[in-house]
């Protein structure tokens, strides 16, 4: 039964309204079905993240840091040659202008021809310069960046970086959070108090700032990025696991194990951990998207993975400088992130609904 109550019209207008309501329902129904089913996000993930991450060496046409300086800034394969006409002026201020000082250099390097308005054979102010920007080729399907590195190849290798960093960070953060959460629940008292207070403050603070402070303090690199993200993640695990563990602690079988002489360590590992495992898995899945965004943002800001490593955030930062002339350098990594995170989020939602609907509000 629909929750929304609204005032109905008379019986006759009702019938018409009902029909259109049913049609509307079917549209959103399709969307809901699509949203609920894990197949599409799974496929996307396999194609864009997991597949490339594993097979990057085989699939990628080039190495992630292979420079082809002669083929820098090539557009994607489907973009043809482009003819660009620039007016020669004293100081260029727009894309359609070129400064007189650069003309000689451009003419000498080839690929540019002079449209000689006054016909004296020399480049003067007011003449135009026609440059042919070469189109893309199948050698670099998604074009190349300013150093002539294949965008596709870097993208594929970047999947490996993203996956590796996020998996390790989540493992580490999850381990930390789960252990502390179980410990807090088990010990109670002061330990519990301290851990949970830290969790509160941690959860409340903008994570990227802490990350930046940490990175500023200890320098950047794979290890730092993973450690920093793990430090940002643990609090949520700790809170959820503590809640679960507290509930489990009350159950009979824990007492029975204790009576049977099990040590605290054994009770935690053998009895409590398996019971919070589902929760941890769901949280981890829900977290992957968040972590990919975090890593990419850190890398974009120059506080994460360092260039020339093919991290998606690094690639997007490279593309920012050339956004006016070479859109493909920033756009593809951005799309890769959005698509991956989107599918990861959908998959996480699905998993949560299946395994642990309570986590909806976490």
């Amino acid at each position: 039964m629909a929750v929304q109550a609204n005032a109905p019209g008379g019986p006759i207008s009702d019938a018409a309204a009902g029909q259109s309501a049913e049609r509307r329902v079917s549209v959103s129904k399709v969307w809901e079905e699509l949203r609920r089913s894990p197949i599409i996000p799974l496929l996307i993930l396999i194609i864009f993240l997991i597949g490339p991450a594993i097979f990057a060496n085989v699939v990628a046409p080039h190495g992630p840091v292979d420079n082809h300086l002669d083929k820098a800034k090539l557009p994607p394969a489907w973009v043809g040659d482009q003819r660009m006409e620039q007016v020669i002026v004293q100081r260029a201020r727009a894309d359609s202008e070129v400064s007189i000082n650069n003309v000689k250099h451009l003419l000498a390097s080839g690929g540019a021809t002079l449209v000689d308005v006054d016909g004296n054979g020399e480049a003067n102010l007011g003449d135009s310069l026609v440059t042919v920007i070469p189109g893309g080729s199948m050698e670099f399907p998604l074009g190349t960046d300013k150093l002539g590195r294949g965008v596709l190849s870097r993208l594929l290798h970047g999947a490996r970086v993203s996956l590796m960093v996020s998996c390790l960070a989540i493992l580490l953060g999850g381990f930390l959070g789960t252990s502390l959460g179980m410990l807090a629940a088990f010990r109670g008292g002061l330990v519990d108090g301290i851990v949970m207070r830290i969790v509160d403050i941690k959860l409340a603070f903008p994570s990227i700032l802490l990350a930046l402070t940490l990175v500023a303090a200890v320098g950047s690199g794979y290890v730092t990025v993973i450690a920093v993200i793990a430090l940002l993640l643990w609090a949520r695990y700790a809170r959820v696991v503590r809640g679960d563990a507290l509930a489990i602690k009350q159950r009979d079988f824990i007492d029975r194990a204790r009576v049977a002489g099990a040590t605290n360590m054994r009770i935690m590992l053998k009895h409590i951990f398996p019971n919070v495992f589902n929760t941890v898995i769901v949280l981890a899945t829900l977290e992957v998207g968040h972590v990919i965004i975090l890593e990419a943002t850190l890398s974009y800001l120059g506080a994460g993975i360092q260039p020339p490593a093919p991290a998606w955030g690094v690639m997007a930062a490279d593309g920012r400088e050339l956004i006016t002339s070479a859109w493909w350098i920033f756009l593809f990594p951005c799309l890769a992130i959005v698509l991956t995170v989107l599918s990861m989020n959908l998959l996480g939602d699905w998993l949560r609904d299946r395994l642990d609907p309570r986590l909806r509000n976490v």
Binding site: L209, L212, Y300, F330, V338, L346
Partner: protein
Amino acid sequence: MQRFIILRLLQGLLAVFVISLIVFALSRVAGDPLAAILDDESGKEQIELLRKQWGLDQPLHIQYLTYMRRLLTGDLGTSFKWDRPVAELIAEKLPATIQLSAFALIITGVIAFPIGVLSAVKKDSWFDTGGKMFAILGQSAPTFAVGLILMWIFAVQLGWLPTSGKGGLRYMLLPGFALGYYNVAAIMRLTRSSMLDVLDTEYVKLARIKGIPEWRIVWKHCFRNALIVPLTYFSLILAVLITGSVVIETIFAWPGIGQLVIQAIVSKDHITVQAIVMLFALLYIGINIVTDIVYAYVDPRIRYS
């Protein structure tokens, strides 16, 4: 109400204390703060002199107290990179950040609340479905990607707006939208679901029975109640704004604190970074206290408990 405010202020002070401890600890983890400004050629006496001057020869807790005393008197230290007092740098850059964040916040409020409410009122319509898609997409895109894509479409391709820099409203539109985007998606979703809950309550039924016009039911009886849930997430909104401003200011060359902190990080200017993090923390905690008080005003149940 007064007790509530005092309690909240005390909690805020505690949080500031903890964060100042963390920031202080981090500054020491980073190693000798002098290392950044001294090179190998600096003489031993010179190092000792500076060490004494900065109080680095004192035990840690004394150092912390000194640090706090300086902080309280507004002395945030001197930036290595710019060779100017950090307080001065911040004072110069802060207005731009506040301007941009406020604009993003206004965008969030103006777009997210009405759309959230309408999606709930017109549940399962095209409008609602579109809103849901926008929300899910919005929560999957990192701020820098949204910023870059918006810049590419509206500044580079269409040429409607400038790509970067600070100027009139035209300069603020793209960064503002990019900064507000994530919050719009999140708040829209929250408003919608809490609005749906409210529309289903008995007091809305009673309002309908009273014969009150539907628009009045939605905007008087529901909206205020539906606002409570999204408001409790205000601290998250703020966190997103702070994080986002760092990213967005870098992308759009917006001369604010965010850009400053990144430049400081790149040039390993610890003192500036720490000062800015402390500032953000203070801002964040302060605004949260204000929100809680507003929240208590909106929902009388909290005020009296």
